[in-house]
């Protein structure tokens, strides 16, 4: 059965999708990033939810990433208390199917702070999309992790 997800609210779309798609695989990529506003902090690793990634690759479910930017702009305004444009999440026509690589680029713009992917002008590489197998599994020195600039 083909579902027209666009007729449902965003949060309802995931409920419907999850009901029809079980045991989804982990993604092959992770976003490795450093926050220029907190240079002493360790590198962070962001991985997509398997459900979200599957929805992104399915297409017709997620809103354009610009919708999130619009909500973020509202939230940054002085005196913000409540979102008044949440309807954009539900009413903006969803984007089509993405490759896994495209989904990771969307996720960068959605879940990584703009000062990392948009505004940073420094010389360090503070953002990389990497295969998951390149992320160390030994966490003994986790709070000292930095992006390897030589491999950048």
């Amino acid at each position: 059965m083909t579902v027209d997800y666009s007729q449902y609210k965003l949060w309802e779309r995931e409920m419907i999708f999850k009901d029809q798609h079980k045991d989804l695989p982990q993604g092959n990529y992770a976003i490795l990033w450093e926050d220029p506003a907190d240079p002493d902090a360790p590198a962070k690793v962001t991985r997509p939810s398997p459900t979200w990634l599957a929805m992104a690759m399915h297409g017709g479910i997620l809103p354009p990433v610009e919708v999130y930017h619009k909500l973020a702009e509202d939230e940054a305004k002085e005196g913000f208390t409540r979102h008044t444009q949440g309807h954009l999440l539900h009413e903006t026509p969803p984007v089509g199917p993405m490759t896994e690589e495209e989904a990771m680029e969307y996720l960068v713009q959605k879940d990584i702070p703009p000062q990392v992917w948009r505004d940073y002008k420094g010389n360090r590489q503070v953002l990389k999309i990497v295969p998951v197998h390149l992320i160390p599994t030994n966490r003994e020195f986790r709070n000292a992790w930095k992006i390897n600039q030589e491999a950048a």
Binding site: Y8, K9, L10, W11, E12, E14, M15, I16, K18, Q26, I31, A41, P42, K44, V45, T46, R47, P48, S49, P50, T51, W52, L62, Y68, L71, A72, E75, F80, T81, R82, H83, Q85, G86, L89, L107, K110, D111, V132, I135, T137, R139, R142, N143
Partner: protein, 124 residues
């Protein structure tokens, strides 16, 4: 998909207003491991998780909340170790990200497997 519209739900003896069901349901949740490879196990309304360092993870929300998450109920669990606990930190008026910090019985930030967290509140 059909919709049942009712102001109250009951079992013939007791009833609750629909708002108790709609507002009392977790609107975003996730379960993950971060002792070794940082791995997401199950989620709802979470686009990604960020490994922020030892014991610290952030849940990034797909369908933003209406207000800052600080206004809502957050609950969670870090691992299954005796005495282990967790607390939440929210940056500013953030309606999209909740951060959970797991700690051991001595209060030190610690990586665990078997973490979970959720948030109940109004979605945008």
């Amino acid at each position: 998909m059909s919709t049942i519209n009712a102001q109250n739900y009951g079992d013939g003896t007791d009833s609750v207003p629909a708002s108790a069901v709609l507002q009392g349901t977790a609107k975003a949740w996730a379960a993950w491991d971060n002792d070794g490879t940082f791995t997401t196990r199950e989620t709802y309304n979470v686009s990604s998780l960020t490994d922020d360092g030892v014991g610290i993870a952030s849940l990034n929300i797909t369908n933003s909340f209406s207000l800052s998450i600080l206004n809502y109920l957050m609950s969670g669990m870090s691992g299954g170790a005796v005495g282990a606990g967790c607390h939440f930190t929210i940056a500013g008026t953030n309606s999209n990200t909740m951060q959970i910090v797991g700690h051991n019985a001595n209060g030190a930030d610690t990586d665990f497997n078997g973490n979970s967290a959720g948030c109940s509140g109004d979605l945008a």
